[in-house]
Symmetry: C2
Subunit: 266 residues, 2 copies
């Protein structure tokens, strides 16, 4: 089936998912929507996150996509469990693939989760982990300063190390061996988080897992594209074309994204 | 004239302006709109900031206000100079009153300005200061981490001191004697900024100045309310009722705001 895959995120962090999808599914065309005019979602209420997520799905459906990938952890945690059943096409979020990988990875059955206030407050990660293995102890904490730190590109600053220590000491004390990076921006801070948590703690970044899950879903449903894709034909829609969006998109995708941006007012 | 005064901000920081207006103009009724569903504005593009600001003004006009106060520094810097002339009622932003006070206050003619990326990038503060006194040297820098730090309520943390040092060393070296806090959230960090900058640097928080300016404008136009206001009758509209909004609103206004919140979907 040669229709495109739709992907959305509250901003541009979800482009990491686009990058992984392109690697794992080189024949698929992708349409991305980043809600950069209303970013971030993680500090907002449940009803607003659900409303924004629905609007994003309806926009992608109009682009005639065959499947939707929710690259935003906040939307995946709060909106997806409630709205998924209303749609007939497959919709997959970053939460379940990340949780599966973490449950598979842990040896001492102690998993940590970090994310936005809304994601952690929803308890969605905690619930999903317990569903797969009720023996696992889950430790969760929100890290609101990680997103602006990543956007400032302060990767080696003293203040970044201080903040990482302040947020993550809890997990070190808890003795976890697996930490889910439950926000698309956090992988940008991976090296400083890794340095603090140490070699024995595995960091789970869901973007690779969600790309594999997408491949499985399409394969099972016989919906994989059968055409070879020529050149780079993905389309990126954003609701706001700010300079910082362009900067971060370039950091994630390289310079090739330049000619494929379109505006979608919300 | 007994119509209300309209006030808007990208979020809840502008409630500090409401607090000052209530003190200086105890007879006036206020209608506030905080665009909490799309907050923050300071990382977004010029055209989006103008569009949001226009929508907020149109919403307040529908509430039959006699004057509009733009409590958001980003809107005041980017949208106001362009859209102000299209409206017949008085519209005042936080920029000009803050600048007047700073120019009045400086002795060594070296003024610093901090604000969001959009505010500083627009050059609006720099231009306005030069217009009043071309001899003054202006130093400007954006401080994107100050808003999330204030929202985390990390007022005495080591990391906060580090970040303050990182952003403000530039101003210390420049030898300024006046610093404009060009974002409604920054006064929440006043004590740590004051500690770092020292006693000789005066911090300008525009909320008091804009309240005075509002009073002058209404008085000159003969538009002051002539009725004594009974009880607390202001109305606060928000586009998202998140928990963090309630928490910060409570920090600014005390508990009395509770029964006056209304929802306005954007």
């Amino acid at each position: 089936m040669n229709k495109p895959i739709g992907v959305f995120d509250s901003g541009v962090g979800g482009l990491t998912v686009v990058r992984e999808l392109s690697k794992k599914l080189p024949n698929e065309r992708i349409i991305y929507f980043g809600d950069t005019a209303r970013v971030p979602y993680g500090i907002k209420s449940k009803s607003t996150i659900i409303r924004f997520s629905l609007e994003n799905i309806l926009f992608l459906l109009k682009q005639n996509v065959k499947m939707i990938v929710v690259a935003c952890n906040t939307s995946s945690s709060i909106a997806l469990p409630i709205i998924k059943r209303h749609f007939s096409i497959p919709i997959v979020g970053v939460l379940v693939p990340g949780v599966k990988e973490a449950v598979f990875s842990t040896k001492n059955k102690r998993i940590g989760v970090i994310g936005t206030k809304a994601t952690i407050g929803s308890g969605a990660y905690q619930k999903e982990i317990k569903k797969l293995d009720s023996q696992i102890k889950v430790f969760a904490h929100s890290c609101p300063l990680f997103v602006p730190l990543a956007e400032e590109d302060w990767l080696n600053e003293e203040s970044t190390k201080d903040i990482v220590k302040k947020y993550l000491s809890y997990f070190k004390k808890a003795g976890i061996d697996t930490l889910i990076l439950g926000c698309t921006h956090y992988p940008l801070l991976k090296s400083v988080i890794h340095k603090f948590m140490g070699k024995r703690v595995r960091l789970i970044d869901s973007s690779e897992q969600v790309a594999l899950e997408t491949k499985h879903i399409l394969a099972r449903a016989g919906m994989l594209s059968n055409k070879r894709r020529k050149n780079f034909k993905d389309t990126i829609y954003v609701s706001d074309e700010s300079d910082s969006f362009k900067e971060i998109a370039k950091r994630i995708l390289g310079s090739k994204f330049k000619n494929i941006i379109k505006k979608n007012n919300v």
